[in-house]
């Protein structure tokens, strides 16, 4: 019912082939973006000693890095809208590398804030958003699986980056490690190179045919067939001609689609997620200290996090596969709300866990829930707004989430310090997430009903034999094309009406 329409993109995504290479590249990019701040904490002790500063001053480095990674979202979106994913990711990788290499030569903590915090953080921002965006361009039918696999890069990278950082630090000291980490981050450029632009390929074919000077009727045939499958292409042409005539609002919307704020699904997602992130990361941050607080030794406490990462690693692709199944995909928003509420319930039950076994069980369930939420984080947004507007949507969402992501752990820390007990932090996180899950569930129920209503109205209009017929013919051609695609279409067949509804939805809203 809320599926992405091919017409939204203008072409049929390959759903495979080179797409899997893109998924691999995306998992590398996403992995670096999410895990680099966490893995960086190994250097804190040494840096504290060298620069004679307190822990909170050192912790600002990762806070600035996270803030820039999420806050740079809109800029990322604008750049992707303008230049496409590939150049942005490659530039981002280059920026990360430059940031870390210059950090190796820093002589004061302020320079570290700038090099590691801002420059590397911004480079990671230019990595994260485009990677997620390009998945939407390459996949439609298998998009949840692709999203799940790409997001699985995060725990895999965490498991490799943390010991690697320790190894580098033991052998090269912190300056040498920063230098080598800069080189490692340049691998994001390789990931970016894999992001072959799609959609623009047809344009080059057209140029080729004109260059080769074919006969006129043949040219028209090819151009017409391309227009049918790529209607956004023609409007783009006309757009360049009429650029001066547009008013500035449309121009801005071309780069960053602010009209999304009128989109019902987008607003629901935004409010629900902003609320959720208030309690999302705090439990991970405080799991090891909580374990030590109840008397578990340091290595076992660290092992809890490893369990979490391993379960997370398995949960993400699995969730992708489940979300792609024909029972779940139409109602993927409900699955998402359920996983958030499940996550919250885990936190609420955590204070009841006593001893090490209890915490191990909690870690397993937490890893599962965490993986489920992360795997569907961007898939649900794509599902709501469509792949074309996703570019701008992801930028706007990340900058809004930025505030609550940064506030979450400090609020948890204040609760722990005030009450001297970890259970209030877990209760707060659990309550916030259950609330967010319920909110999303109810609002998406409402949204699905509204979409069904709009679809009915759309159907009624179509039965009316008017000018709409030509459009319908065009659409029936698409239908035939997609029918020839094969058995994968089975899950989507019932929702084909929904395709039109979605078009209507995006147009109206």
């Amino acid at each position: 019912m809320s599926h992405q329409v091919p017409s939204d993109l203008g072409y049929v995504p390959p759903d495979g082939g080179w797409g899997w290479a893109v998924v691999f590249g995306a998992s590398i990019s996403v992995g670096f973006a999410y895990t680099f701040p966490k893995a960086f904490t190994i250097y804190f002790k040494e840096l504290q000693a060298v620069y004679s500063i307190s822990y909170s001053q050192i912790a600002w480095i990762t806070s600035i890095m996270c803030a820039t990674t999420y806050g740079g979202g809109p800029i990322s979106s604008i750049l992707v809208n303008r230049y496409g994913s590939r150049p942005v990711v490659m530039f981002g990788g280059l920026l990360c590398g430059i940031g870390m290499v210059s950090a190796a030569f820093c002589t004061s903590i302020l320079q570290l804030y700038i090099c590691v915090g801002f420059i590397t953080g911004f480079g990671l921002a230019l990595n994260l958003q485009p990677s997620v965006i390009i998945i939407g361009k390459y996949f439609l039918k298998r998009r949840p699986i692709a999203n799940g696999l790409a997001m699985a890069g995060s725990p895999v990278m965490l498991c490799t980056l943390a010991p690697l950082n320790q190894f580098l630090f033991d052998n090269f000291g912190w300056r040498g490690s920063f230098l080598i980490l800069g080189a490692i981050l340049l691998n994001c450029c390789v990931a970016g190179a894999l992001f072959r632009p799609i959609g623009a390929a047809k344009r080059s074919v057209k140029n080729q045919t004109t260059e080769k000077g074919k006969e006129a009727p043949k040219e028209e045939v090819t151009r017409m067939s391309m227009e049918m499958s790529n209607p956004t292409y023609a409007p783009a042409e006309t757009r360049t001609e009429e650029e001066e005539e547009k008013d500035c609002c449309e121009k801005i919307n071309q780069y960053l689609d602010f009209s999304l704020f009128k989109h019902r699904g987008f607003l629901i997602y935004l409010i629900g997620n902003v609320l959720m992130f208030l309690g999302f990361f705090a439990p991970i941050v405080f799991l090891a200290p909580y374990a030590k607080h109840i008397g578990i030794d340091e290595y076992s406490a660290a092992f809890l996090l490893s369990i979490l990462a391993i379960v997370d690693m398995i949960a993400r692709p699995t969730t992708g596969i489940i979300a792609n199944s024909k029972w779940v995909r139409p109602k993927i928003q409900y699955f998402f709300s359920f996983s958030i509420a499940f996550n919250g319930t885990c936190h609420l039950l955590c204070p009841l866990a006593s001893g090490y076994t209890g915490l191990v069980v909690y870690s397993i369930f937490f890893g599962l829930a965490f993986g489920m939420v992360c795997a569907m984080l961007f898939e649900t947004l794509m599902d709501l707004v469509g792949a074309a507007r996703f570019t701008s949507a992801v930028g706007l969402v990340t900058i809004a989430e930025c505030c609550t992501i940064l506030l979450g752990p400090p609020i948890g820390g204040t609760l722990i310090d005030t009450f001297g007990d970890y259970k209030y932090m877990f209760i707060k996180c659990g309550a916030v997430m259950v609330l967010a899950g319920t909110f999303l569930f109810i609002m998406n129920y409402y949204n699905y009903r509204m979409l069904a209503k709009e679809e009915k109205e759309r159907k009624a209009k179509e039965e009316d034999p008017k000018i709409v017929r030509t459009e319908n013919e065009g659409r029936s051609n698409w239908k035939k094309e997609t029918l020839q695609d094969g058995p994968e279409l089975e899950p989507l067949r019932d929702e084909r009406e929904g395709l039109k509804t979605e078009v209507n939805g995006t147009n109206e809203v």
Partner: protein, 369 residues
């Protein structure tokens, strides 16, 4: 926890240890010494103690029994004691704290002997300030049948003569004022079998770092030494020159070394403008009233060429991979264009043939109509 600032009379009570024995109700014991094995722990409040020691300790003794937890905090050896088992008479460590007019802390350490002889039981006792120490070896109440003929207390090879004997325990008293009195004291109980226990009196150990600290030429490095439980009087840093250890005088070489001794139980050595010559072992020495203790730290000074090699290797790998990806893309695009060109060519041919056919068929249709 009463602090040890200055010197006070404190009475530490007995640390009961069991010599290796074959008693059935064995309790696992965690002690500092690995040679400790299982045995039955009996709480032995040797009544003899009161008689043997001239100081009035009775009140403290009673207090001590209850304050086992504070005792363990207090005593450096406390954590080595085992948890009491089903046998309620087991007691690990009791420590009495009593404030008196006189100077020293009173410490009493006891070893319980039971059952089978074997390797000597060893006990490490950490002292940082002058104290009065009583060491005693005693028989557990369970084994009255063991006849002890001869008991000898020795410091190294030197025999200690004045042994206080009570019903089942033999003890000696020491006044530890400086490092001469530290060392290993052993008691040997000879009877049908021989039992031996050794007490090692020592200053607190300072831990250095196992892994070398790595820094670069021209950079600054900070080395840290900590003494967690005991506060030393002062700290001294040494660097190793060949086989000698030379003290670092930070006032003399203040643009090279900076030593920070605040807070008192931590010290920082900052070395500026590193060169290859600064590479090697450094020692931080904590000076206590009863002696000195050293910790070792290693410093490695590298040139920037060392990490540069992996950096260039990874950079080369990135460039090669990017080049491969782009070349593959160009190659596959060429193939695609070629295939499309052929397809279009076929389409044109088809159109042409269709047109010619269409003309004929339409004309035939017309004729038919």
């Amino acid at each position: 926890m009463p602090g040890f600032s200055g010197e006070r009379f404190v009475r530490l009570l007995l640390l009961s240890l069991c010599l290796p024995g074959g008693s059935p109700a064995d309790l696992p014991m965690t002690t500092q010494d690995a040679s400790q094995t299982q045995g039955n722990l009996l709480t032995q409040m040797p009544t003899g103690l009161n008689e043997s020691s001239p100081e009035p300790m009775m009140t403290t003794r009673v207090v001590n029994r209850q304050t086992r937890e504070s005792v363990s905090d207090h005593s450096p050896v406390g954590h080595s004691v085992s948890t009491p088992g089903p046998d309620l008479t087991t007691q690990d460590f009791k420590q009495a704290v009593e404030e008196k007019a006189s100077n020293f802390t009173d410490l009493v350490y006891e070893v319980l002997v039971s059952g089978v002889s074997g390797t000597p039981v060893e006990k490490n006792i950490t002292l940082d300030s002058p104290a009065k120490v009583e060491l005693s070896c005693s028989l557990a109440n369970k084994y009255p049948h063991l006849k002890i003929v001869q008991v000898a207390w020795k410091k190294g090879n030197e025999t200690i003569k004045h042994i206080n004997k009570t019903e089942n325990s033999w003890s000696i008293q020491l006044i530890v004022t400086d490092e001469n009195e530290l060392g290993s004291y052993s008691c040997t109980l000879k009877g049908e079998e021989e039992f031996k226990a050794v007490f090692h009196l020592q200053v607190p150990k300072i831990e250095g770092k196992e892994k070398p600290i790595i820094s670069y030429e021209g950079d600054t490095v900070v080395m840290i030494c900590k003494s967690s439980n005991y506060t030393p009087i002062t700290w001294t840093w040494y660097l190793t020159n060949g086989s000698e250890q030379i003290a670092i005088n930070d006032s003399l070489l203040s643009d090279k070394y900076v030593i920070d001794r605040v807070p008192a139980n931590t010290t920082h050595l900052k070395i500026l403008k590193l060169t290859k010559k600064d590479d090697g072992a450094y020692w931080c020495e904590a000076v206590f009233k009863l002696g000195k203790s050293k910790g070792k730290l290693k410093l490695k000074v590298l040139t920037f060429l060392v990490p540069l090699k992996p950096f260039l290797a990874i950079l080369a790998e990135v460039i090669i991979l990017v080049a491969i990806v782009f070349l593959y893309e160009v190659y596959s695009k060429k193939k695609e264009k070629h295939a499309e060109y052929e397809k279009e060519f076929e389409q044109v041919e088809q159109l042409k043939s269709e047109e010619s056919n269409g003309v004929e068929s339409s004309s035939t249709r017309h004729r038919k109509v």
